[in-house]
């Protein structure tokens, strides 16, 4: 299976662990990821807030760069995934907008036929295309005894939700059950982490983060698994600030689902970029999975 791969800006540096672990897991699962040559930033939510046509044109450049022999593009980041999928859908549904976007692309010598590329989210590629049987065959180290809280966030499951339930998604729950973990069924798994609100209004952002951490603690999760770099950043890097703000003592490791999946597939922990999270996940992994090699720095 071969797909075009759009890492996105977050995966370049602040969430390199997501990129590294995605590539490592894909390798074991037999998924070939061909990185889009010279991709550009998707504009996150910031371009749509200012200028819709430019937002679409900037995103569509990436769709136009997908090699002709490939018809699927996978983006691990939720915001990138949605922007790419949404722009394609807008171009399909609104002919006039599609034409205008192509006029913009033409200024750069590019062209995109709406609907040509199927934009996929990474979880669905692993869950649906690889599937339970193949994944179970590849398990080297079952995650027995580890309680995980799958955290879906917003933009993969809403508003374009062809692959899971927008209110109560289950793909990551099932995936980690296959891998042998105890999956925590907590009520906020598809709630919002606040997105860019940490930059704009800290009191609002911190309350949204607190609710998520508190719920995972209530349900006795050992760690939260993310599928979006913004969610990981807000829950992990801002956890200390949230603790000072609310006088709480959260110490919840927040990692990418691909990192833990990598452990189950027998990939060396140092090839999965553990230790970049501000709340270190390795002591919990060592205690619960009882693997000394899990904590090697």
């Amino acid at each position: 299976m071969k797909l075009a791969y759009y890492p996105g800006c977050s995966l370049e540096v602040n969430s390199a662990a997501y990129d590294v672990s995605t590539r490592a897991v894909a390798d074991v699962l037999g998924i070939t990821l061909q990185e889009l040559d010279d991709w550009n930033c998707c504009g996150a939510t910031e371009y749509f807030s200012q200028d819709e046509l430019t937002a679409c044109a900037v995103i569509a450049r990436n769709l136009a760069l997908v090699e002709k022999d490939l018809d699927q593009l996978v983006a691990p980041c939720a915001a990138c995934y949605l922007n790419l999928a949404k722009t394609d859908k807008l171009m399909v549904d609104h002919e006039e907008l599609g034409k205008q976007v192509n006029q913009c692309l033409a200024a750069g010598g590019l062209q995109y036929t709406p609907g040509r590329v199927r934009v996929r989210n990474l979880l669905d590629v692993i869950y649906t295309d690889v599937g339970e049987e193949e994944i179970k065959k590849k398990i080297k180290k079952p995650l027995t005894g580890l309680r995980v809280a799958p955290y879906y966030g917003c933009q993969v499951v809403r508003p374009i939700c062809e692959t899971d339930n927008p209110e109560y998604p289950m793909q990551m729950d099932h995936l980690f059950q296959w891998l042998g973990a105890e999956v925590v069924d907590y009520p906020v798994k598809a709630h919002c982490c606040g997105g860019h609100m940490t930059q704009i209004s800290e009191p609002q952002a911190f309350e949204m983060i607190r609710r998520l951490l508190q719920s995972a603690v209530h349900y006795e999760a050992d760690m939260i698994l993310c599928m979006c770099p913004m969610c990981q950043l807000n829950l992990d890097a801002y956890q200390g600030r949230v603790n000072s703000h609310f006088k709480t003592e959260f110490k919840m490791p927040i990692i990418f689902f691909t990192q833990l999946m990598g452990i189950a597939l027998g990939i060396e922990p140092d090839k999965l970029d553990f230790g970049k999270e501000l709340v270190d996940a390795r002591p919990v992994l060592a205690a619960k999975l009882g693997a000394a090699e899990t904590v090697s720095v």
């Binding site: 540096v13 807030s49 590019l110 809403r158 939700c161 919002c192 890097a237 801002y238």
Partner: protein, 191 residues
């Protein structure tokens, strides 16, 4: 559809919102049920819930709607859109209101607009996002004290190699800039 909406409600602002939101014509089907405001994680901080904003759009309250904080509380979680029984793209209407309020100089939350502008200026220049650039330009000028409080976290990110010191520029930045320039030209012609 735009004409129909205008005739039906007598609101030119309604027509403007529909014109500037893909799929926006669904707005005329609003039942005023309030699922949107009830679903919103920031609903309690809004001066007007999305339901109220739609009622105000129907009532042609352009100035009031474009100066309310509602769209700036929206973080694009899409719960309202996904739960709306009338399939109104409410999040996209919030994006439309953000754009119109910036254009009219009525945007209330200047931090949100400053962040958006800093973000896209860097994108236009390099083709990639650059967090340290955003932090220094946006936070330094808008929220210097918050930058101070971010110190330990910033250090944590830095020592773990999660913060780049320099921006990355894409190879074909001229191509991207030509595309952006064309989009701006077309945008000016239609707006």
């Amino acid at each position: 559809m735009t004409k129909v909406a205008e005739n039906r409600r007598g609101s030119s602002f309604l027509a403007e919102v529909i014109e500037n939101t893909p799929g926006g014509e669904r707005i005329v089907h609003c039942l005023q049920c309030g699922s949107c405001g009830g679903s919103c994680p920031n609903g309690a901080d809004m001066q007007h819930t999305p339901r109220a904003v739609i009622a105000m759009i129907n009532a042609n309250k352009r100035q009031e709607v474009l100066s309310t904080n509602t769209p700036w509380c929206c973080v694009s979680c899409y719960f309202c859109t996904s739960r709306c029984p009338q399939e109104i793209p409410i999040t996209d209407i919030m994006y439309c209101l953000k754009r119109l309020s910036i254009r009219e100089g009525l945007a209330q939350n200047t931090d949100a607009t400053a962040l958006a502008k800093t973000f896209t200026d860097l994108l236009d220049k390099y083709g990639r996002s650059f967090e340290l650039g955003i932090a220094t330009r946006y936070l330094l000028f808008k929220k210097p004290f918050s930058l101070l409080r971010m110190g330990p976290m910033g250090m944590g990110m830095m020592t773990r190699g999660r913060m780049a010191m320099f921006p990355t520029r894409i190879k074909n930045i001229e191509q991207l800039q030509a595309i952006i320039q064309k989009a701006r030209q077309l945008g000016e012609r239609t707006s």
